[in-house]
Amino acid sequence: MNDVAIEAEGLRKRYGDHQALAGIDLSVPAGTVMGVLGPNGAGKTTAVRILATLLAADEGRAVVAGYDVAKDPQKVRRQIGLAGQYAAVDELLTGRENLVLIGKLHRLGRKGAKARAEELLERFELVEAADRGVKTYSGGMRRRLDLAACLLAEPSVLFLDEPTTGLDLTSRMTLWKTVREQVTGGVTVLLTTQYLEEADHLADRIAVIDKGTVIAEGTPDDLKDKVGGERLEVTVAVRSELAEAARVLSKVAVGEPVVAEEDRRISATIDSGIDTIADAAVALREAGIGVADFAIRRPSLDDVFLSLTGHAGTPTEEKESEA
């Protein structure tokens, strides 16, 4: 078996005059989780669709589970499970019928499909609802059914495209647990997300995508180091005191604080620790500066983008999101 479960080289895809992918390189070792992070329209979904054989790349090469996605798509499909952005389940069938159908199409045979469906219904706590139409399911239940459907044939590579978008907390936890179980069992997972927190929780490595290219890749810690530590955000009561406040804060901050004139706000990267925060508060009080708001923020996806690209991750509508 190959050590690398997903390997992509120079994937490019163009929709009309929109370059969705401008040369994506990815390498995911078997049995690990790769988090693909990026704003809407960055090309995450397009990349997943190419790797899952739904879409042909204009250029580049991708090997999934040892098979070339363009040359051997059918063999790739035997090895993968895909959960798209929306639960792809048949509303008119029951949960059980959905799973049995997918099982049959996976060529598990009637008996095999039924047995496997039963197993997964139990695992995803859908036994009680198994014989109800999916129409009556909640969003979380649909997602769970969707996830069960993509685990039917025990895939060795799992693609999850924004699996927790719009999910309630319980369903999100179930999903996270499932992903961890799968990885423990040797499955390779590629998941896209807009949430740094989620990638942080699940991913061994993170690739940040923007405008169709990978702009950073590394462990969650690598990325956070690039972004820097926590951020202190101070909003002053009177605009005239902004400069003075920035001068005071620069003494406790790492690097120069960033001043947002419009919002009367200063943003400073600080070493984590209660002492630094206390120092900052004391320094402001001693300088006699009126503080309207004083907050500590952890780095968000926006900060990652800001620090990696110098521009905020601007969400743009992309064709791929409607499909």
Binding site: L54, R77, A88
Partner: protein, 262 residues
């Protein structure tokens, strides 16, 4: 090949379950056609005259054909529905036969139209319609109707994939129905039409199928017209429908690849 058959059966099973879950669908393919038979049979039947034949018998072939044609809308709606709910993506990520998705759809819709045929034949028989040329000829007429139905299912699948929007697809199917059904001999003989319009109507494949059924069932009345399609309706129907299928099937398969790869 066995894989294709297996997947097609699995998907046909899925569509049959849909019918069971949504009684409106079953009503649509049974009660709808019954109403047509009764309305046309009694209402028009009492007002219209076609020389040499009972109009109630004459019109049955037309009603059968119209119901076969309506398979366009059914298949189109089914295909565009699957595109929207993401199931097509799921199917495409499975190691299944891709063609089975289309074949499963058209075969199940064909089964539904066959059910309509049976229901209409029974109701037709109750109000006095008969196929006078024996069982074989009667069966040949139905086989031709089903060939038309199957072709219409593929046309519908193609439209559904190209147009995508379920609402738009419905109106397009209706729009198509107008010229094909009403510019044919389905409900009225063509003798009264201006010459140029008559030629168009005669070559309309719907007219050939209707004429074939009337010929095979001896519901025809007098044929005064000696245009080629009127004289050889079975031959013309088989050729036009065969050609249509040969063109439609690969075109639909290609549209499926494209529609899904977005």
């Amino acid at each position: 090949m066995s894989g294709l058959a297996y997947d097609t059966m699995a998907l046909t099973g899925r569509h049959m379950r849909h019918i069971a879950r949504v009684p409106e669908k079953l009503i649509g393919v049974t009660v709808g056609p019954i109403v047509l038979v009764l309305v046309f049979g009694y209402l028009f039947g009492s007002a219209m005259q076609v020389p040499g034949v009972n109009y109630r018998e004459y019109i049955m072939a037309g009603i059968f054909t119209q119901v076969m044609f309506s398979a366009v809308g059914t298949s189109a709606a089914g295909v565009s529905g699957d595109l929207h709910n993401g199931l097509v993506d799921r199917f495409r990520s499975l190691p299944m036969s891709r063609f089975a998705v289309l074949l499963g759809r058209t075969v199940s819709d064909l089964l539904m139209t066959s059910l309509s045929c049976v229901v209409m034949a029974v109701v037709g028989a109750l109000i006095g319609w008969r196929a006078h040329n024996g069982v074989l000829q009667a069966a040949a007429g139905f086989a031709l109707l089903l060939l038309l139905g199957f072709t219409m299912c593929w046309l519908g699948a193609l439209l559904g994939l190209v147009i995508r929007s379920t609402e738009a697809v419905n109106s397009v199917a209706m729009l198509l129905m107008m010229p094909f059904i009403f510019l044919s001999n389905a409900f009225v003989p063509l003798n009264g039409l201006p010459r140029w319009l008559q030629v168009i109507a005669e070559w309309n494949p719907i007219s050939s199928v209707v004429a074939s059924c009337r010929h095979l069932w001896a519901n025809q009345g007098l044929v005064t017209d000696n245009a080629f399609p009127t004289q050889h309706p079975v031959l013309v129907s088989c050729v036009t429908l065969g050609v249509a299928l040969i063109v439609l099937v690969p075109l639909t398969a290609r549209a499926y690849q494209r529609a899904a790869a977005r």
